[in-house]
């Protein structure tokens, strides 16, 4: 299968404030490369400060990479060319409630995205919003609601609708499932898996819950202090972790399975 997303040698370094001679550089992300195909999910696992959010920001174009290239369908994505990028790569954040503008209705929130990126007329836009809301399991009536009238799970669905309304190819989930209640989380996982099947989406899942990673992803990447320490098939890594940090991470979560089994 053709490669959808091709990342080669991507890295990010932040300059820390300092005088001319003792200028320091913080390597948030060491050079890394990976490929992602349609219908597949890449999970990124790591602790705080390991660079997983930096990676998400680089992919979505919120930060300029220091080195490296991101190619989508063989086409290089330029940093700063948002018109090109934001139609294909979209992102969902952890706390969906705060990413929705409280003074706009759901219709206006979704309309903004479509208006800025396509040249559909008003009727077509409303049709598209209606169809997308149905796709994520909301009613067309929800168009006229304000974000505060929706529950946490519904808000997360709205931000998912905002992500898929332009029919992107890659969706980045930055801890998008962590803050949800368990029963809503499993609904959301089912919804995401369905959408992946229907639309051929590729997901980049950033998470620290290994249970979800195991269930959801095909490949996984473990980051530690900005470096990739393991990258490969999820099942193989979880069964036989090579690096010490991965082993520790799996151990810290696997006692729960033991508690369940006895």
């Amino acid at each position: 299968m053709a490669k959808l997303l091709e990342v080669s040698n991507l890295s990010k370094a932040y300059k820390l404030p300092g005088y001319f001679f003792n200028r320091k550089i913080c390597n948030a992300l060491e050079p890394l490369s990976f490929n992602l195909q349609a219908y597949k999910t890449l999970a990124v696992v790591g602790e705080m400060g390991s660079g997983k959010s930096t990676l998400a920001k680089l992919l979505v174009g919120a930060e300029k990479p220091t080195t490296g290239k991101i190619k989508l369908n063989g086409q290089t994505l330029e940093a700063g060319n948002f018109g090109q990028r934001c139609q294909h790569i979209r992102m969902i954040f952890q706390d969906s409630g705060t990413t929705l503008n409280p003074s706009l209705t759901i219709k206006q929130i979704l309309d903004e995205t479509v208006k800025l990126n396509t040249d559909l007329d008003t009727m077509e836009r409303i049709q598209l919003i209606r169809a997308t809301l149905q796709k994520v399991g909301l009613l067309p009536d929800h168009m006229n609601f304000y974000p505060h009238m929706l529950s946490g799970g519904q808000k997360q669905r709205v931000s998912l609708a905002r992500a898929i309304i332009l029919e992107p190819q890659v969706v980045i989930l930055d801890e998008a499932l962590a803050a949800l209640d368990p029963s809503l989380r499993s609904q959301m996982i089912n919804l995401l898996l369905d959408l992946q099947e229907q639309m051929g989406l590729a997901f980049v899942l950033i998470s620290h819950n290994l249970g979800i990673v195991r269930h959801f992803s095909d490949e996984m990447m473990v980051l530690y202090h900005g470096q990739v320490i393991e990258y490969g098939d999820t099942q193989t890594i979880l069964k036989a972790p090579k690096h010490k940090y991965t082993q520790k991470l799996i151990l810290s979560q696997s006692f729960q399975d033991k508690a369940l089994s006895n």
């Binding site: 799970g153 209640d181 368990p182 029963s183 809503l184 499993s186 996982i189 399975d257 508690a259 369940l260």
Partner: protein, 330 residues
């Protein structure tokens, strides 16, 4: 004797037109030296229940009543408020989620810990007391596993990591040597390696000091390893209570069953990317609660009878509140 014995506790939010029953007849018992998990999704009233136990609910907005509210044999609801506060502040301590937000950002950790050391533990003149206070702080920090006490005492909350801050919070809670520690989601939004640290610390306190812990969590799978017994709540109603093993191997309530089925961690046998079992719909909001069993509209086993709230049934210490419990299936 039970440490805490609550029977049919109701908490009402006093509204302008009509009152809302936020917690509906919940029972909770705790024995000495027990770790009990209190599990429920958002809006299940678990934090309200904790606040009712320590008695910080504003009386002009909330109305609390219970058939029985005993703390070591004393009925708290019948005591005058001062006496009740004295008992609770001596014996019960609470820690919260987001420890960095709970600590005062403008003073050092040492000062905040010194403030928590009770006057009754000190003796002598004021300069002697100052020395004792300093020593007590260092001792507290050692007890929660912080070895570099000087570094910790002199730093401000933002200079420490989240797990360290939570340890400091636990140290503050331990200053009065409480019998019961209420931990309200102590590890929410923490990383799994740090979560393990905090849970291990709580477990060791439980074993060494025989301290009872009420561990509140929204996620059933997170607390299983650390609890002896579990109480499950949904939308302000009591669902199920029993030992951890009972809850996990033989859940009697459809809601507990659904919680277990929906967790990808508990279902390792499922192939990757298979659909998870879920309950349809979402958690009802307080303004629009269903009558009877509040799980009714979402429950796979709901029948006509469920519009009446079910009575709590007790099978060998495994309590369940459901008309059509799953007991007969096992």
């Amino acid at each position: 004797m039970n440490l805490l014995d609550i029977r049919n506790l109701s908490i009402e939010l006093i509204g302008q037109k009509h009152d809302i029953l936020a917690v509906d007849r919940v029972s909770l018992t705790m024995k000495e030296g027990e770790v009990r998990g209190l599990v429920g999704e958002s809006g299940s009233g678990k934090s309200l229940l904790a606040q009712a136990i320590i008695g910080v609910l504003d009386e002009s907005r909330w109305r609390v009543h219970a058939d029985r509210f005993h703390w070591r044999g004393q009925d708290l609801l019948r005591l005058p408020i001062e006496e009740r506060k004295a008992i609770i502040s001596k014996d019960v301590a609470m820690i919260f989620q987001e420890p960095i937000a709970c600590l005062d950002p403008t003073t050092t950790i040492g000062e905040q810990l010194e403030e928590a050391v009770p006057e009754s533990m000190l003796y002598g003149f004021f300069w002697q007391k100052r020395q004792q206070r300093k020593k007590a702080v260092i001792k507290l920090l050692h007890r929660v596993g912080i070895k570099q006490h000087t570094m910790c005492i002199n730093s401000y909350p933002h200079q420490l990591t989240e797990a360290l801050c939570q340890r400091v919070m636990i140290a503050i809670a331990l200053a009065r040597r409480p019998i019961l520690l209420i931990a309200d989601e102590p590890t929410a939004a923490m990383e799994s390696t740090n979560q393990g640290q905090i849970f291990r610390l709580l477990a060791s306190l439980n074993q060494l000091k025989n301290m009872s812990i009420l561990l509140i969590s929204h996620d059933l799978e997170n607390v299983t390893h650390w609890t002896h017994t579990i109480t499950v709540m949904y939308s302000g109603q009591f669902v199920e209570a029993g030992t951890t093993k009972q809850i996990f191997t033989k859940p009697y309530h459809p809601y507990t069953q659904a919680l277990l089925d929906s967790s990808p961690k508990a279902n390792m046998h499922l192939p990757a990317k298979a659909r998870l079992m879920t309950l349809p719909g979402s958690i009802p909001i307080l303004q629009h609660l269903p009558i009877g069993c509040r799980l009714g509209p979402r429950c796979p086993r709901a029948q006509k009878q469920c519009v009446n709230a079910p009575k709590v049934k007790n099978y060998h210490g495994h309590q369940v509140s459901c008309h059509f419990s799953l007991k007969d299936l096992y």
